[in-house]
């Protein structure tokens, strides 16, 4: 009898504490939902809603619901402004991103592989030092322009591509090097015995095994290069071959009174990273964490 009573009191206690736990959880969730809305959704909403308004309405800078929607007008106006500068910019940025990535993957996978396999040899420490330095020390801009200029590459997409490769190389090489360590050396030996020497060993056996890092690098570096503002500003100036980030900057002075158009540009430029995020959310986070910890 006694035990039964004790049991039932214990049960109520458990139920009570789980009830308070749930109330607590609901409260925490509500607070977080409100906070995340205020801190993150309001800026997004503000930009998007104002890109739908007329110029005069957007100049009020309020969050009010538009009285009239000018979605198509605004976006068409932005896309056709200054002889379709934005469309050309999207083309330039895409080309820059694709070329830089192709180059980066080629040079840094090869380098990462050899650096890892020769880790204990003479000179490896020096090479590692130079690569680590590249992660920390900002590039010297005017001397870089001097180099580009002497090679006739200043203000060309090719020149900017080479600079992007050089500047993203340390991050990519370190990721490749870390991942190569998990590819057993026995594979190299046996492939070599089978007559798969040097470069062929790399392209046919090793590189396919590095696919996970390659995709991480593609996702992260493409977002970084697409969003890059500083390097195009220095090394590819001029409206003619602007990248998307520069159009934003050019529109800033051009559209000082047309906030709706400026915001439409902001929305368009944020779409590619958003798409990447929706598809590769987990991969991006994993890759950025790995890069940070290894670096």
């Amino acid at each position: 009898m006694n035990t039964v009573v004790r049991d039932s009191t214990a049960n109520t206690a458990v139920r009570k504490s789980s009830a308070t736990a749930i109330t607590g959880k609901v409260l925490v969730t509500l607070v977080l939902l409100v906070l995340s809305t205020v801190i993150f959704w309001i800026p997004f909403y503000f930009v998007i809603i104002n890109s739908f308004k007329s110029g005069a309405a957007a100049a009020d800078m309020t969050m009010a619901w538009p009285t009239a929607f000018h979605i198509i007008d605004n976006y068409a106006a932005v896309l056709s402004a200054s002889e379709h500068m934005l469309i050309r910019a999207f083309y330039n940025s895409t080309l820059l991103t694709v070329l830089s990535l192709a180059g980066l993957i080629f040079v840094s996978s090869l380098a990462g592989f050899v650096l890892q396999r020769r880790e204990r040899t003479r000179g490896a420490a020096t090479l590692n030092f130079f690569i680590l330095a590249g992660l920390m020390i900002p590039p010297a801009v005017v001397p870089t322009i001097w180099v580009l200029n002497s090679l006739n590459l200043f203000k060309t997409l090719a020149g900017l591509t080479l600079v992007e490769i050089a500047l993203h190389f340390p991050f990519c090489a370190i990721l490749y090097k870390a991942f190569t360590a998990s590819v057993p050396r026995d594979i190299d030996e046996s492939a070599f015995m089978d007559g798969c020497g040097g470069f062929k060993l790399f392209t046919h056996i090793i590189f396919p095994l590095l696919k996970p890092v390659t995709s991480t690098i593609i996702i992260i570096t493409s977002v970084n290069i697409f969003n890059d503002f500083v390097n195009p500003l220095y090394f590819l100036p001029g409206a003619e071959n602007a990248t998307v980030q520069l159009t934003l900057y050019n529109f800033m002075s051009m559209y000082l009174t047309n906030w709706n158009l400026l915001f439409a540009d902001v929305v368009l430029i944020s779409l590619p990273p958003l798409v990447m995020f929706l598809f590769f959310n987990k991969r991006i986070i994993a890759g950025m964490t790995a890069g940070a910890v290894k670096g």
């Binding site: 925490v28 969730t29 977080l32 939902l33 995340s36 801190i39 993150f40 309001i42 800026p43 503000f46 930009v47 800078m61 309020t62 080629f106 840094s108 090869l110 380098a111 592989f113 050899v114 396999r117 020769r118 090479l127 130079f130 590249g134 020390i137 900002p138 590039p139 010297a140 801009v141 005017v142 001397p143 870089t144 001097w146 180099v147 580009l148 090679l151 080479l162 490769i165 050089a166 190299d188 070599f192 020497g197 040097g198 060993l201 790399f202 969003n227 503002f229 220095y234 980030q245 900057y249 430029i269 944020s270 995020f277 991006i284 986070i285 950025m288 964490t289 940070a292 910890v293 670096g295």
Partner: protein, 288 residues
């Protein structure tokens, strides 16, 4: 190293990377030491010794960059280190919609800095901006966030934290997730509170993650340029000019030698501040 290994891991494989990295990064960095002591156009130069450096330290509009850059780096780094740790602790605990909140915190990291800068500079408009309108609604007169010389640098730092806290948070989350669960269980059995489990387990054991966050955000802060350029362009006056924005301004004005001296100062500054910090943090890690 055997002959077959020499062939398999041929040094020629380092050549493509080496040539590009040397030509477009290492060479300019080394040459900057020389060019910072010259007055030059891209084709001709005259050696002038340390005059550029002297000017950097004497001219108020240039010297202010040191103070601003240091304040900016310390403020953004400090806020990110603390906020991200709290966020990560929250986002690894048992809450609902965890994935949604994590995505929310992380997403701004992927946005273009210029876009974020433009959006916030409108929201921070002194009279019409969303922030001050909201403050006015509850009876607080909002300041001129980006126009007040004392406040502007901190407002930009706030935007930086908004955008960058996500990456710091995911680094912490990775660190916290790697802490073995039985430590927490042991503490719970001993009747430890949630605060104690944070203070005695999460905090000390996420040290490696914290070190990465400190180093990354501190160096990031010292190098910042684009956010300043998208919001204040160094103004009002020179109150938000960082070394990187001063370099750009001097470059635009055609003072290539001076701009390069700024680069060298930034390079030395980062080496002097970040390398010892890195060593110090790693030493502490070993002691633990």
């Amino acid at each position: 190293m055997t002959l077959s290994q020499k062939k398999m891991y041929s040094l020629f494989f380092l050549l493509p990377a080496g040539i590009i990295y040397f030509t477009f990064y290492l060479l300019p960095t080394v040459m900057s030491l020389f060019f910072s002591m010259t007055r030059w156009t891209l084709t001709k130069w005259t050696y002038i010794g340390f005059e550029n450096y002297q000017m950097f330290f004497e001219e108020t509009s240039l010297r202010i960059g040191f103070r601003n850059t240091l304040i900016y780096a310390v403020v953004t780094c400090g806020l990110k280190v603390i906020l991200a740790l709290l966020l990560a602790t929250l986002l690894t605990s048992k809450i609902w919609f965890k994935d949604y909140f994590r995505s929310m915190v992380f997403f701004p990291t992927l946005l273009s800095t210029i876009a974020v800068g433009i959006a916030f500079s409108t929201m921070m408009h002194p009279t019409q901006g969303v922030i001050n309108t909201a403050l006015a609604a509850i009876g607080i007169p909002g300041p001129d966030w980006l126009g007040n010389t004392k406040l502007a640098l901190f407002s930009v730092a706030f935007i930086d934290v908004w955008k960058g806290v996500g990456i710091a948070t995911v680094i912490y989350i990775a660190g916290i997730m790697s802490i073995p669960q039985h430590y927490y269980e042991a503490l719970r059995i001993d009747g430890g509170s949630k605060f104690r489990s944070f203070w005695h387990i999460t905090l000390p054991l996420s040290r490696p993650a914290m070190n990465s966050v400190i180093i990354l955000s501190f160096i990031g802060g010292l190098r910042t340029f684009d956010l300043i350029w998208a919001t204040t362009r160094g103004g009002p006056g020179f109150s938000t000019d960082l070394i990187a924005s001063i370099i750009y301004k001097q470059y635009q004005a055609g003072f290539y030698g001076l701009a390069t001296a700024g680069n060298v100062i930034l390079f030395i500054g980062i080496s002097v501040l970040a390398f010892p910090l890195y060593m110090f943090l790693n030493r502490r890690e070993v002691e633990l």
